[in-house]
Symmetry: C2
Subunit: 413 residues, 2 copies
């Protein structure tokens, strides 16, 4: 038994028609198009005999019949605003394909594939959680946290948006303890490592931790013409000195796969003729290795202290987030690697994931694995995001094979 | 004849009551409080026999009787938003005091002091001009430029705001060629040079030029987790490299009084998890010496080119403004220095002005001089801006004496 690449591509093309934006899609969580896509998925799962529902946070869940063992497969259906057609949808369609293949395989008596499309992996709603759908599924989100969540674009509260789609008040699906021998998520890479290496498949070792900080400099706001260089306390300049020191120092303390980014800088009051009295930047770094994370954290602390001591401004370093890396489990990882070796011998990479995924939540509860297909030009979160049809087809074969491998390895019979 | 410091302080305290904000004032151009202040000034000038008007851009002008020669004296009455009580008002009240003293001096037959309060030196209205009131007075602003000007805080167009105060359509007062032997403006220093040197009076040599630039870096927007350090084209980082190079290099090319400032930095899209694809900063430097200005310009051009060549981003340097320094004329400068030596021997500084003033416009047409009084703590454009009463009193004596010196030096008799 193997995947049907034509069926996979047909499904992906169908989803691309729901909320089309240029060559991508605009399908934010709980938009009408998002609901249309979720209902389509629920229908497909019902067609193969799964017990299906869209739950109280818009997770789509399809439960396979049979005594087990079962593999949980899935990703997410909503998109970033005006973004790509494959981010999320690819993993959901692969999961659906795996469920179809398993359902039609007479050899797999009782064994099967549950499919889930997690709600809002893309974080359209902000609240005291990281991944709404997957954290709800594993029981890490309370009703109070859902009460407090709101849409980042101002469309309303999460409750209001759920009520509008007649989902609020529905039961939330909970993971059934002991049901799963593993979770597998496929996703586009969103970077250019596979493309650069000329590989078609990525077997993920771990999902990196993100450590994020706010660095604030406090000086004294004053007139940019009448204040001598000697007497000014320029918060912007002090902040730039920290930034410059980071870029000079981090290459000597980072690991081979570390990344770090200054994504936001604000000078107050932000006027050309006023010396900034306050300046702030948001800085993050990512790595899967706690030693690398700790070395970068120590360097950042030291650099900030040094500028604080040397400049006429006060520097402050505030931790915004320090997540833990999520390591993929041996069973699912082996199932993926064996499948890759079968379908794409020596054409796959063993690599970390630099982006966050629902798999990092599920990995806290079920042995989990992740698989990547190449992103053309490394582009994602943009409507021009793409993957070649042949890579999509190869990915479907490897993914379905990995699911079958995992079911076989965990067979009771 | 000399100034009456009590009368000067009484007038300043009176103006502070018009639009009071904490210990300062909030009196933006063409606000009700601004008009109240202008009408008060017009009344004071009429009281001493000046032919007075508030003109079609809200300049208040009081024309002294007599055949001349005449000195033009003045500054501005409006304030920055929620700012200090002396910025502008001090120079207007000194001018009024000089006009009163001259009007009551029987020795000065025919000689006199015209007083002007220029509109919107603080630039509440943006348009294709730098100083609305003074540029209107010297004939450098057309009706079309006034048509196009709008309030920066969104209160409306300049025409609408003038019409609301029944000023639109009034004639604009024009400088009468040949009438003046000089223009004198007094102002708070807005810096801390006088205070640091323990001096009570500043005699201004020149008003610095402001050269202002937009520096833009263009890279490629991408995912901050999945894009390796090697393959990223981070526009923010490239911009920081220019900024860092400026701060390292400018001390070696600047003059002793040069100042430079990065007042605004923007990273696009400004999200913590997205590598900036575009980054921009507004950079300015100021100096009165063209050699220093040119050296700094050359250094900036070179540094930007170097980062453009060395980084994976494209750097662009755009000139936003390159004004000329305004040199104060010998006659008014000598009149001020002699007056300072008389009233405050060896208690004055000869210094440039780092801020822009109406005097730089008037200096293009009339021999001009400027005088500073100390700013406590160097603070300005803030409600806590202040100058001691004794420094205000001393400044009034020096200013009035300088006006008398200038009238005497230009006497026909």
């Amino acid at each position: 038994m193997k995947a049907d690449p034509d069926r996979v591509l047909r499904d992906l093309y169908h989803l691309r028609k729901i909320g089309t934006y240029k060559s991508g899609v605009h399908r934010p969580t709980l938009s009408q198009d998002d609901i249309t896509a979720r209902k389509w998925l629920a229908g497909q799962l019902a067609d193969i005999g799964h017990e299906t529902c869209i739950d109280g946070v818009a997770n789509v869940f399809g439960r396979a019949p049979g005594a087990g063992p079962h593999v949980l497969c899935g990703s997410h259906l909503e998109s970033q605003n005006h973004a790509g057609w494959l981010d999320g949808a690819l993993g959901v369609v692969y999961a659906l394909e795996a469920a179809r293949v398993a359902a039609s395989d007479n050899q797999l008596v009782g064994r099967g594939v549950d499919v889930i499309a997690f709600a809002d992996e893309e974080g359209h709603f902000s609240g005291d959680f990281s991944f709404l759908g997957s954290e709800s599924f594993v029981g890490e989100i309370s009703e109070e946290q859902i009460d407090a969540a709101t849409d980042r674009s101002g469309r309303g509260t999460l409750r209001e948006m759920l009520a509008k789609q007649e989902l609020d008040g529905r039961q939330r699906v909970s993971m059934e303890a002991g049901r799963y021998c593993g979770f597998l998520e496929a996703h586009i890479e969103q970077g250019d490592r596979l493309e650069s290496a000329g590989r078609g498949i990525g077997v993920v070792t771990s999902i990196v931790a993100i450590w994020q900080y706010r660095i604030t400099a406090t000086g004294f706001q004053n007139h940019a013409g009448t204040t001598t260089m000697k007497s000014r306390r320029d918060a912007g300049r002090a902040l730039m000195q920290v930034w410059s020191a980071i870029e000079a120092s981090f290459p000597t303390v980072c690991g081979p796969d570390s990344v770090w980014t200054v994504g936001r800088v604000t000078l107050q009051p932000g006027q050309p003729s006023i010396i900034p009295g306050q300046a702030e930047m948001v800085f993050q770094f990512r790595d899967a290795d706690p030693d690398n994370l700790n070395r970068m954290h120590d360097a950042l602390t030291r650099l900030t202290r040094e500028v604080d001591a040397a400049s006429p401004c006060a520097l402050e370093l505030e931790v915004l987030a320090q997540s833990s890396p999520a390591h993929m489990a041996k069973g699912p990882k082996d199932a993926l690697q064996d499948a890759a070796q079968q379908w794409a011998p020596d054409h796959y990479s063993i690599m970390p994931s630099g982006a966050g995924h629902d798999a990092q939540v599920i990995a806290r509860h079920i042995p989990s694995g992740m698989m990547f297909v190449p992103s053309i030009g490394g582009i994602s979160h943009h409507w021009s995001e793409n993957t070649s049809d042949s890579d999509i087809a190869l990915g479907a074969q490897v993914y379905v094979q990995a699911v079958l491998n995992l079911l076989a390895a965990n067979s009771n019979g």
